[in-house]
């Protein structure tokens, strides 16, 4: 039977505000599945053109798929969100790139013709599920030296990446972090972020954590506007004595959820759904697990090659700031300045937080807003590093660009 590959578009994306993991965090008494449910419901409210029964799949990522992140979250969250029972769902895991992989997996299926419209997103409640919860690494990793022992500790892999790029100093990383906080504060002041946040009601019963009773979360908790180089300079380097990676130049431990609607372009247009970004290509790549922050570079090489584009064609970048060094390594590799205006215009995970498997869709939602504002930009990319030595990149076309949809 003849097939035609179909164009895939990013229709819309929302997220919960991100919280700080831990007993005093805003989501400490909130379930992870409830965070996903609120995001899905907000998406549906914002897009009344999409009838819930038309949704072909719910793909939700989580790194630690146990407890309230287990039980095939894509399915259970769909039911909890009030989707018809006829809508199926599944769970996905590629650690930090979970939501990104949810998007690319369903995008592949849409292009193939298996789906028309899908919900893809992710969640990580690192307070309820600390990194490494329940893991049981095979002893052969160490005995056969398959990976370096530092590979399981993300902070150590970031220090290793500093070793690979000796010119990326702690000073440069801190300067990058300060800019991320500044850009995020500015984006908030200009209302760029809030428009894609769903308010979440949160309960608190522990008076040590603050006022008790029900509250409403409408903003990201981790942000530290006004962060200065001086304040960062004195922070400890917990992953290595005299190291470079600190809590200030890395994303924290966070709770949050994201969700997006991914559809075939034809379906979106027929149903008057917005088309915010058009998928161009995507790629994943593996690197040595102990320098996992290097991953975005080969992943981007692959994605560019598949798209027939070069890095010069990309004029907006959303790079996940798991660590400042990982962004800087990417920029250094491509000869882009640390403070290039095309990179993370609204700031990044150092300011907003990085609830592992949810972050990919945050990058896309922010890139989509930048596309709207900058129709002169034709191509952008979202990229992130992934634990155990991987990188993930998606290249998007701006449908608002005058040449969008045409040949390059």
């Amino acid at each position: 039977m003849p097939r035609t590959v179909r164009d895939v578009v990013f229709v819309d994306g929302v997220r919960t505000p991100f919280g700080k993991a831990g007993p005093k965090g805003i989501y400490h008494e909130t379930r992870a599945d409830d965070l996903v449910v609120k995001a899905i419901r907000e998406l549906l409210r914002r897009n009344p053109g999409l009838e819930p029964k038309q949704i072909d799949e719910v793909a939700i990522a989580a790194t630690t798929q146990i407890g309230d992140q287990g039980l095939t979250l894509g399915r259970t969250a769909g039911i909890l969100a009030g989707l018809p029972q006829s809508v199926p769902g599944y769970s996905i895991d590629r650690m930090c790139a979970g939501a990104l992989t949810a998007v690319t997996s369903v995008a592949g299926s849409i292009a193939f013709g298996a789906y028309d419209a899908v919900i893809a997103g992710g969640v990580e409640h690192m307070g309820r599920h600390p990194m490494g919860e329940g893991v049981d690494p095979n002893p052969r990793f160490v005995s056969e030296k398959l990976v370096d022992e530092s590979a399981l500790f993300m902070g150590m892999t970031a220090e290793n990446l500093h070793d690979r790029y000796p010119t990326i100093t702690k000073q440069r990383a801190d300067e990058y972090a300060v800019r991320s906080q500044e850009k995020a504060a500015k984006a908030y002041a200009n209302g760029k972020i809030q428009q894609d946040l769903v308010p979440v009601s949160v309960r608190r019963t522990n008076p040590e954590a603050g006022e008790t009773g029900w509250g409403l979360v409408t903003a990201d908790e981790p942000m530290r506007p006004g962060t200065s180089l001086e304040s960062l300079a004195g922070l400890k380097t917990p992953f290595r004595v005299h190291g470079r990676v600190t809590a200030g130049n890395a994303a924290g431990l966070n709770d949050g959820a994201t969700a997006s609607i991914i559809a075939s372009e034809d379906f979106a247009r027929e149903n008057n759904l917005p088309v915010k970004m058009r998928l161009v290509s995507y790629a994943f790549a593996g690197v040595e697990p102990e320098v996992m922050g290097y991953g975005p570079i080969p992943a981007t090489e692959k994605a560019l090659a598949k798209a027939g584009l070069s890095i010069e064609d990309i004029n907006l970048f959303e790079i996940n700031e798991a660590f400042a060094v990982q962004v800087l390594a990417f920029l250094e590799h491509y000869g882009i300045a640390d403070d290039d205006a095309r990179v993370n215009q609204y700031g990044g995970a150092i300011a907003y937080g990085h609830p592992l498997a949810s972050s990919g869709v945050r990058l896309m939602t922010q890139l989509a807003r930048q596309f709207e504002e900058q129709p002169e930009v034709r191509y952008g990319l979202t990229t992130m590093c992934v634990g155990f030595g991987m990188g993930a990149t998606v290249i998007w076309e701006n449908p608002h660009h005058k040449d969008a949809g045409g040949d390059k």
Partner: protein, 708 residues
């Protein structure tokens, strides 16, 4: 006296209150609508212990309102909301605290305390919002009524003003505010009609449709959407429209309708509905404070009255004692029941088969003496399953499952060889029953329970000829089996604990209210009803008119008059039971020659309904042979109540049940006797009948009355 002092005094009377906190938390509303204070009512327990209001809880809410009032005055907040812990908003006054009250002034303080705190919510100086997130009853609903705006969740499990059901009035603003908010007619439906209709609950959609709530949101993000809506209201993006209330004739008609409903349910015998209607009637002028004052007085009067105490007593019997039967053996002794046998395939047997099937979901086998009867029995069950399917009560899969589980056979050996519980519902004749049990014992496993649905025969005698009489229990249902909750579980002389525990386990799965009863003639309900009816019949036979005899017991507010009940039971069955009891207790139970004559004439009752109302059937009137002793209604009532009090006293002496509480539980759940009588013994106590007849009350002071 200040509110704080008032509540402090009240709190001292109720040291064991489960105290509800009123947490104040601040948040930023969406759309930059401003800083908002949200009060969460939470007693610190999970949803299995719903949040209630006692005096210390009210004081906590009062303190929270102090705080937000100051913030409002300082311009720090733009609004105040109030909501509950997960699944529960608040379920009203703590009845345990009400039970403890001994003085009218203390009862008055509870009413005033609630009013003084709640009404502050309408005077904070910024708009107030109630978010009914979960179960809201009584004072819980009322605290929200004092707010300016309300939202309700589609997911609420319960929403009602159940006060009249218990014997109170919605006295923290409900009677006054509700008719002024939604109109008198709808208020009467909520406060009177639903309450007297087995405490019917409203769904979220109905709360919206009635106009009690201004907006309805789904449970999944109810609070978020409520707060977004709040922001829109505060910014003027959403305008809340309220209906214009008809304060003309419609108001009076609504109150009149309420009185009609009350009359048809309690026949003037319980004051609560009428007190509520008086307040609703007076609320027509829109004077809230006048209404609150009237509520305070009504509450205090009712709290000090016997009907409320009986109502709370009855409520607790059904909710607590009914779920933990007195005298039942340890449930760990119970054996599993994986297959049920039913001897007989007549109507009663078929109804039992259906009940076991639906609740236990195990194979159920019917047997009878010929294939035609067996087929008819199974056919009945199949038809009932189809009806349930048609009504959407079960789905096709469940219907298939249930139909596959029921079968009928002629050969008991084939049907019962692996059954764990076999119940007989054959003809009420001891010889027949003994024969049936002997046949069953020959083929059933050694552990199988043999249960009898007899209403009047001796369980001990029925078991006496068996090899294993210890496994026989009485399992006496009440008609209609699917509706009346009572199940009298009869312990024969030789019944062992394991068999009894199994019977109670089955009863629980059947969702019946099980009461342990000694093997005594006619057990509990039939014995009391027969004595009661017998005395009515006696005075008629002696010469009092049927009309006077019937009217004499109207002030009790029973669900139906004695002769209408007789008609429902069937005069022949009534006669049969009276004959049985007459054999056991000839000095107290008579067999009425008039009743015998009516039965002999083939009449189905005493009344004809040609005019729409019951009137004495002229053919019955022609049969009746009466004496010349004509009593007044009062004299009749005294004789009847004396007889009932005497019979209950003797039953307790005989140890038919553990306590008077079990008698009342049986009458409430097996005969539908009303809450305001507390079954019957609280009423007999408060009317002085118990002391007159037995020299003492049935219940200690405070059990179903104002404590000493």
């Amino acid at each position: 006296m200040s509110t704080a002092e008032l509540l402090k005094g009240a709190a001292e009377l109720f040291p064991d209150e489960v105290v509800t906190s009123a947490h104040v938390r601040h948040l930023d509303l969406p759309f930059g609508a401003g800083r908002f204070a949200l009060i969460t009512l939470d007693n610190g327990f999970d949803h299995t212990k719903p949040t209630t209001f006692g005096p210390a809880s009210l004081a906590n809410l009062d303190a929270a309102i102090d705080q937000v009032s100051k913030e409002a005055a300082a311009g720090e907040i733009v609004g105040v909301g109030i909501t509950g812990k997960p699944f529960i908003f608040a379920v009203g006054a703590d009845l345990k605290g009400v039970e403890l009250l001994k003085e009218h002034k203390d009862a008055l303080a509870i009413g005033k305390g609630g009013h003084e705190v709640f009404k502050r919510l309408s005077g904070i100086g910024v708009p107030t919002f109630a978010y009914y997130n979960g179960a809201a009853m009584g004072g819980g609903v009322e605290v929200g009524l004092h707010c300016e705006y309300r939202t309700v969740s589609k997911a609420i499990a319960a929403f009602s003003l159940p006060e009249v059901f218990l014997g109170l009035v919605p006295g923290w603003g409900g009677c006054t505010i509700l008719p002024n908010l939604i109109g008198a007619d709808k208020a009467v439906s909520v406060i009177i009609e639903n309450s007297l209709n087995q405490n019917k609950q409203l769904k979220g959609q109905q709360v919206l449709d009635l106009g009690i709530a201004d907006a309805l949101f789904e449970g999944a993000d109810f609070l978020e959407q409520s707060l977004i809506w709040t922001a829109q209201v505060l910014k003027g993006d959403v305008e809340v429209e309220r209906p214009v209330i008809d304060r003309g004739e419609a108001w009076d008609q609504a109150v009149a309708r309420g009185r009609f409903v009350a009359d048809s349910k309690v026949h003037g015998a319980a004051p609560a509905a009428y007190r509520a209607l008086d307040i609703i009637a007076a609320a027509k002028n829109g004077d809230l404070q006048q209404g609150y004052d009237a509520e305070d007085v009504a509450l205090a009067d009712l709290i000090m009255g016997g009907e409320l105490r009986s109502g709370i007593y009855a409520f607790n019997l059904v909710q607590k004692r009914g779920k933990r039967p007195a005298g039942a053996p340890d449930k760990s002794l119970a054996r599993p029941v994986t297959k049920v046998g039913v001897v007989g395939a007549g109507l009663m047997a078929s109804q039992l088969a259906l009940l076991f099937l639906r609740r236990l979901e195990v194979p159920v086998v019917l047997t009878d003496i010929d294939q035609e009867r067996v087929d008819k029995g199974v056919g009945y069950v199949h038809a009932e399953i189809e009806k349930l399917l048609g009504k959407g009560r079960i789905n096709q899969d469940k219907a298939n499952r249930l139909k596959a589980l029921v079968s009928g056979v002629l050969d008991k050996a084939e049907g019962f060889s692996d059954a764990d519980f076999i119940i007989e519902a054959v003809f009420e004749e001891i010889g027949v029953k003994q024969q049936v049990f002997a046949e069953v014992e020959a083929v059933a496993p050694a552990h199988a329970i043999l249960a009898t649905n007899t209403s009047s025969l001796s369980v001990t005698e029925m078991a006496s000829k068996l090899k294993n009489p210890e496994r026989v229990v009485g399992f006496h249902f009440f008609n209609p089996v699917a509706i009346l909750p009572l199940l009298e579980i009869v312990r024969g002389e030789q019944t062992d604990d394991a068999s009894l525990a199994t019977a109670f386990g089955v009863a629980k799965k059947l969702k019946k209210t099980a009461v342990l009863v000694k093997d005594a003639p006619a057990f509990v309900v039939n014995r009391i009803l027969t004595r009661f009816m017998g005395e009515i019949q006696n005075v008629i036979d002696e010469g009092t008119s049927v009309e006077v005899a019937e009217k004499a017991v109207e002030p009790l507010g029973l669900p139906m008059s004695p002769l209408v009940l007789l008609e429902l039971v069937g005069p022949a069955i009534g006669l049969h039971v009276s004959e049985t009891l007459n054999r056991s207790f000839p000095e107290r139970f008579t067999v009425s020659p008039n009743l015998a004559a009516v039965v002999k004439a083939g009449k189905r009752g005493f009344y004809v309904y040609d005019s729409g109302k019951p009137e004495l059937d002229p053919e019955v009137a022609a049969i009746l042979k009466q004496g010349d002793v004509v009593l007044t209604e009062e004299q009749v009532r005294e004789r009847v109540l004396d007889a009932v009090a005497q019979e209950i006293g003797l039953m307790l002496d005989e140890g038919v049940v553990a306590e008077a509480q079990d008698i009342d539980l049986c009458l409430i759940t097996g005969a539908g006797w009303p809450f305001h009588l507390g079954g019957i013994t609280p009423y007999l106590d408060r009317e002085g009948v118990s002391e007159r007849v037995n020299g003492k009350k049935f219940l200690a002071p405070g059990v179903a009355s104002v404590p000493a």
